[in-house]
């Protein structure tokens, strides 16, 4: 609805003038104030910490300085940069794997499950009625040295009793597995939405014209569902870049992620200035990712505005 089409009420007084000028725009004010308070202000503070205009270090004077930026930024100059690179690789791997695993689930829900689809959807989401923390800890029970998997191997005589598979936990494997498990259901949702809303007449037309199932999938279904796939990929990629809970609970000393480094600087070995530099860097990376992938999500919004 355009601004000029708003009904002309409250024509007198401050509220009336505000209304005349903004229509119902003032309704967003509480949201803007909330965002300013809980998001923009902390971001500004983090920015100030990153250039040493604020500090938590006792006895360190606050003065503009790019010291920590200069220490961090040259690629390969310090272990934090290496940790960033390895974390991004894991994040990308998990995102791709989650999308690949979620697509068949979404496809089944959209085209095969029919009346059972909502029951199945509920079942897929059921684990998320418990806390994320508990779900990660549950994986510890499964993967630990005397956990479910190793105990089963012992019982089946596949390994000597007490000789567990050591890389099952406190490793990159366990971190990636837990992240994968966490995100697959979320990833399935946007793909499912796109597939469900797909014009099935196109599929029928393709088959009428002689295309086989595989050809129909690769020429019609997959291209039409790509926006959902990309949305799903972004849904995993962005939050996982800052992940620190899973590595903290099931990761080993070599499988900490960049988020753990930031967390360490803000809690265990407090140097908020360096932590802020890493946090600002991560925010910048996430913004770039949003800009890159956002264009695939918003194109038709611009189109629909243009034709409105």
């Amino acid at each position: 609805m355009s601004v000029s089409s708003a009904p002309a009420v409250h024509s007198n007084g401050l509220l009336g003038r505000l209304h005349a000028r903004t229509g119902r725009g003032w309704l967003v004010l509480p949201g803007i104030v909330f965002l300013l308070a809980v998001m923009i202000v902390p971001l500004v503070l983090i920015g100030l910490y990153s250039v040493n205009l604020m500090t938590n270090l006792f006895g360190v004077p606050t003065k503009f300085s790019l010291h920590y930026w200069e220490d961090f930024l040259p690629p390969g100059s310090n272990p934090f940069w290496d940790r960033f690179q390895s974390s991004m690789l894991v994040t990308l791997g998990v995102s791709v794997a989650a999308v690949l695993a979620a697509y068949p689930i979404a496809y089944y829900l959209a085209f095969v499950a029919r009346r059972r689809r909502y029951t199945l959807l509920l079942l897929i989401l059921a684990p998320f009625f418990t806390s994320y923390l508990l779900r990660v800890i549950a994986w510890k029970v499964i993967l630990a040295n005397n956990g479910v998997i190793n105990s089963a191997l012992w019982q089946l005589g596949l390994r000597d009793h007490g000789d567990g598979v050591t890389w099952l936990i406190y490793s990159w494997f366990s971190v990636a597995l837990v992240l994968f498990y966490t995100w697959v259901p979320f990833v399935a949702l946007p793909i499912y939405v796109v597939l469900e809303n797909m014009d099935t007449r196109l599929l029928e037309a393709a088959q009428d014209l002689g295309a086989g199932r595989l050809k129909t999938f690769f020429r019609i279904t997959l291209p039409l569902s790509l926006p959902g796939v990309i949305a799903a990929f972004v849904f995993v990629l962005i939050p996982t870049t800052g992940e620190f809970i899973a590595p903290l609970l099931v990761g080993g000393p070599d499988s900490y992620m960049f988020g753990n480094t930031i967390q360490g600087f803000f809690s265990d070995s407090p140097n908020w200035n360096y932590g802020a530099v890493l946090a600002v860097w991560l925010i910048a990376i996430v913004l770039v990712l949003i800009l890159v992938f956002g264009r695939f999500l918003s194109t038709d919004l611009r189109e629909s505005r243009a034709t409105a």
Partner: protein, 383 residues
């Protein structure tokens, strides 16, 4: 390729957001801090709010509180009189983090270790105690109470003390390898070792391993060498443990790890569980520590805080604590006869007023370059 339209995108986003909200339930909550001004006089206890925020280690909550699951008697005389509703605990996980937390939140009491005494006093985070309000103070070991003074004022009331060393499985570790802190660097036990995720302690261990004369006063060059040693040691760890009870204890019990940085309570716990374990006497000496109570600079519960501390340092509570954790206690009136397990009391020097002064003990103390060490520890983490 067809883009996703706004309706579909919002539908997906709402579904994902709903899931996140559901999944987010039960996450860790923060701590509130209120702005208060320093007092100049202290009203009677009945006029104090009685709601205290206490910076504490997990497991040391007062008797009767929901969080106190060990049945520890300490705190009983306070909670019997004032109840438990007014007590709020904010947890600390290591000494460096404790100092930082004390700078961030409003607190009435905290239970730090003595090596950071100077940080708290210099930062004006604490105020001296009025020991006349704590009847059991007179029972405390003067060697330890003296260490808690700055400019003649009692800022720190010692309570618990103990040793840190290597806890190891005697059925898995060759006795010839269990000689000192170098066991952490023994490649033979790769993947079965867990050091604590504590900056200062790990650099102290590295300093002892490298033979530096002052583990808490290293030069920058020595910090660098210690950092390199810890980076070299890092791949041998299964993990760095953060919580003694939820990380290290179950992993040691399950056999995930055989060698761990530990305090003596875990030696008692794991051997009580039937595991063949030993608490090492390293050739370079054990680490020694003492922790106690400090009073928040701007507390509005001056008298409540004193009553709380009295409920912890009275003789009955101290004896109970010793028999529960087999830590030492600053209460000098504790006799070996008070300790249930006499052999443990002897092995851990409980009841010996000079227990922390021996040549085989390296008492942890203030690190002047703690910021440098903390940064170096994060570099070890990230390496």
């Amino acid at each position: 390729m067809q883009p996703m339209d706004r309706r579909k995108f919002l539908y997906s986003a709402a579904a994902v957001g709903g899931g996140l909200l559901l999944g987010g339930c039960g996450s860790d909550s923060g701590t509130s801090a209120g702005g208060e001004t320093e007092k100049v006089s202290h009203p009677p206890i009945s006029q104090e709010p009685g709601t205290m925020n206490i910076l504490e280690w997990q497991g040391y909550e007062a008797h009767g509180t929901e969080a106190q699951t060990y049945g520890m008697l300490a705190g009983k005389s306070y909670t019997d009189k004032f109840g438990t509703d007014g007590l709020k605990y904010t947890y600390i996980v290591n000494d460096t983090q404790a100092v930082n937390k004390a700078r961030q939140v409003q607190f009435d009491l905290l239970h730090p270790c003595i090596e950071n005494l100077q940080d708290y006093v210099n930062g004006q985070l604490v105020q001296p105690w009025d020991t006349s309000l704590i009847p059991s103070f007179k029972n405390l070991n003067p060697v330890l109470t003296k260490k808690g003074q700055v400019d003649g004022q009692q800022y720190f009331i010692p309570w618990d003390w103990g040793y840190a060393s290597i806890l190891y499985r005697t059925d898995k570790v060759d006795p010839e390898d269990a000689t000192g802190w170098e066991l952490f660097w023994n490649e033979k036990y790769k993947g079965r070792i867990a050091m604590w995720d504590g900056a200062q302690s790990n650099f102290e261990v590295a300093a002892l391993y490298l033979g530096f004369p002052e583990m808490d006063n290293m030069t920058s060059d020595q910090v660098e060498q210690a950092k390199e040693a810890l980076i070299k040691q890092k791949p041998l760890n299964k993990f760095y443990w953060k919580s003694e009870y939820s990380d290290m204890q179950p992993a040691f019990k399950s056999g995930d790890i055989w060698i761990s940085y530990s305090w003596q309570d875990q030696y008692v716990y794991q051997s009580g569980f039937g595991l063949p374990v030993e608490f090492m006497e390293p050739s370079q000496g054990k680490l020694g520590w003492t922790c106690g109570f400090m009073l928040g600079a701007s507390t509005k519960n001056y008298r409540h805080a004193h009553a709380y501390v009295e409920s912890f340092i009275n003789h009955k509570a101290c004896v109970d604590m010793v028999n529960l954790f087999y830590y030492g206690n600053a209460d000098a009136t504790i006799k070996p006869s008070d300790v249930k397990d006499k052999s443990l009391a002897k092995k851990l020097n409980i009841g010996d007023p000079q227990a922390l002064s021996g040549s085989n003990v390296n008492l942890q103390s203030w690190m002047p370059n703690e910021n440098e060490v903390a940064l170096a520890w994060e570099e070890v983490h990230a390496a």
